[in-house]
Amino acid sequence: MVRKFKVMDNDYTVDIQKRDTVYSITIKEKKYNIKIIYHDQILILFKINGKKYKSYCAKNAHVWYVHVDGQFYLVHNISGKRFGIEQQSNIPANVGLDVRAPMPGKVLKIYVQKGDNVKIGQDLCVIEAMKMEHVIKAPNDGFVESINCSLTDIVDAGHILIDIKEHPGDETT
């Protein structure tokens, strides 16, 4: 079976086959044989080439949180729709010119109004979480098409705070 994952912005295709307690997994043409020693809700013990590994992992939405050998990984399952659960990325990404909240928090200040012209790097609003303020800046020149938050709103990571549209014709310059 082939699965697709994303780790730190890199896409990986993982081919996985199972025989008894041994998995054979291929990642980027590199083949591994993994012998499972123990596996429960959180803990997985396994051996590769005789070396023992202990890993902890848990899933939230489509993301596996993996701890292995003292390192932490966020592995996003991007295999597509499965089990009727919508495949949706909650990685805050600047898709187009949406200005998204980089973390969950409270909207502390909004510096712009609908229709305002903005310059790249201009302060748009301030999000506060855990006593830290984070200034959200304009990703591009353009104008404010809409504001999708109000003062004191609690927003999730990835929430589109402000829509910035480029001025017509800007793309060609």
Binding site: Y23, I25, V66, D69, G105, A129
Partner: protein, 493 residues
């Protein structure tokens, strides 16, 4: 002795205070905001009372509400922890008025030390060194030029109303003073609406070293040695240790004397911390007194074997200090690492969400003061500190290695933490060589990225997990009694 103590705090410090209360057979009342109803401090306390909305000023800073809860529940004393109301003299006054003991210093001492400028002036007047210029408030350009010459270059210009590095300028030579002063005043006015500027001696290399003091109401004072807190990120301490690798016995003795002198001058009682800055020539300067239990108090507890919270409670109960200075020894070396819900790869932005799983390291001389648990939804309203990991070793080298190993075994899944960052600090060659100062992080970790040697392993594990999950689903489909939710186990939406 008190029968019942209310802990006016949350998180790891509230849990830590409750543990000592339990050992002293004192019953505990926790208070909590709406988002903390299943937080560990609520679970550990004998009673827990809801005090309102998550916003701190509606709950953990709501003096009226907390006093009301204390009165309704026949509380004898209130422990404020650190942060929140711990250094709020209005809260101490409200406790006094309600005839509830505030576990902390007197209102008079708290008020005096709360005024940083005035307390420095007072300390200087009794011969305690302060940073040259630190107490000069110069209003005109000429006054600043005169002050800078008197102090000697380089000097630091600082906005009086300032903080967070705004309106701060380092001036190396006299001819740079005028333009720097103009810029500093402009920034100060823009940021704080006040262009008053201070000038003080600038040090290229400083260490932050503080002394732990205990003082009873009967004129007895002891110190419990120092803590080295130079490893800071954005003025926030992240690694602390005791003893300080910098101090010689002679310097330690002189600083301890100065620290005792500071608390005597202030008429300070209970547990307190006297903070000093130490320059490259080992001159030390009084900075301020933290009139409360410190975040980093466990390192002192580890090297002295003294429970500071127990001492705070005994002192607040008007008892005499049973420990004499001559009986206080330090042994070995202790290090603390603060674990924050911050994303070290994303400019240390706070991270929140559901903690899916926690497993803290255990083992000889490893202590974990924690305010989290598996399954806890992390609120966004409070300080991002999750836990503190404290280790002891017979030497600093052993303690560093123990911390490195323990951090490697600290598992928190579901949110991001700076554990990998902490681990790289304690295993850094310069840290091991004790070459540390307050610029350590910016000098050595400005471009830091976590090591990712096991991407393939993480992919394999995720693929195996997905595979197991798929099988659970097909198994459950063949078994009428089992619902998919039982079979699937770790699946979460």
């Amino acid at each position: 002795m008190f029968n019942k103590i209310l802990i006016a705090n949350r998180g790891e410090i509230a849990v830590r205070i409750i543990k000592t209360c339990q050992e002293m057979d004192i019953s505990t009342v926790a208070v909590y905001s709406d988002v903390d109803s299943t937080a560990p401090h609520v679970l550990f306390a004998d009673e827990a009372i809801s005090i309102g909305a998550p916003e701190p000023r509606e709950s953990y800073l709501n003096i009226e509400k907390i006093i009301e809860v204390a009165l309704e529940n026949d509380v004898d004393a209130v422990h404020p922890g650190y942060g929140f109301l711990s250094e709020n003299h209005q809260f101490a006054r409200a406790c006094e008025k309600a005839k509830i003991t505030f576990i902390g210093p007197s209102i008079a001492a708290m008020t005096m030390l709360g005024d940083k400028l005035r307390s420095r002036q007072i300390m200087q007047s009794v011969g305690i060194p302060v940073i040259p210029g630190m107490i000069i408030k110069a209003n005109s350009e000429n006054e600043i030029i005169t002050a800078a010459e008197k102090i000697g270059y380089p000097v630091l210009l600082k906005a009086s109303a300032g903080g967070g590095g705004k309106g701060m300028r380092i001036v190396e030579k006299p001819d740079q003073l005028k333009p720097a002063l103009d810029a500093c005043q402009r920034e100060a006015l823009a940021a704080f609406g006040d262009d008053t500027v201070y000038v003080e001696k600038y040090f290229r290399q400083l260490r932050h070293i503080e002394f732990q003091i205990l003082a009873d109401h009967h004129g007895n004072y002891v110190h419990l040695f120092e803590r080295e807190c130079s490893i800071q990120r954005r003025h926030q301490k992240i690694i602390e240790e005791s003893p300080s690798p910098l101090l010689t016995d002679d310097l330690r003795k002189r600083m301890a004397e100065a620290a005792i002198n500071v608390v005597k001058t202030a008429g300070y009682t209970n547990a307190g911390t006297v903070e000093f800055l130490v320059d490259q020539d080992t001159n030390f300067y009084f900075l301020e007194v933290n009139a409360r239990l410190q975040v980093e108090h466990p390192v002192t507890e580890f090297i002295t074997g003294i429970d500071l919270v127990r001492q705070q409670i005994l002192i607040a109960n008007n008892e005499r200090l049973q420990i004499k200075q001559a009986d206080i020894y330090k042994r070995g070396h202790a290090i603390e690492a603060r674990i924050y819900a911050e994303d070290p790869e994303n400019n240390f932005l706070p991270s929140s969400g559901k903690i899916l799983f926690v497993e803290a390291p255990t083992g000889p001389w490893i202590r974990n003061d924690s305010g989290i648990r598996s399954g806890l939804e992390l609120p966004i309203y409070y300080d991002p500190i999750l836990a503190k990991l404290i280790v002891w070793g017979e030497t600093r080298e052993i303690a560093c290695k123990r911390m490195e190993t323990a951090l490697k075994q600290y598992v928190i899944l579901g949110i991001k933490t700076q554990i990998p960052f902490l681990r790289d600090i304690v295993s850094h060659a310069e840290f091991k060589k004790t070459a540390i100062d307050t610029h350590f992080i910016e000098n050595h970790f400005a471009e830091w990225k976590p090591g990712y040697d096991h991407v393939d392993l993480s992919l394999m594990i995720s693929a195996i997990e997905e595979d197991t999950q798929r099988k659970s689903f097909s198994n459950s489909a063949n078994n009428k009694r089992a619902t998919p939710w039982i079979q699937v186990g770790r699946w979460q939406i």
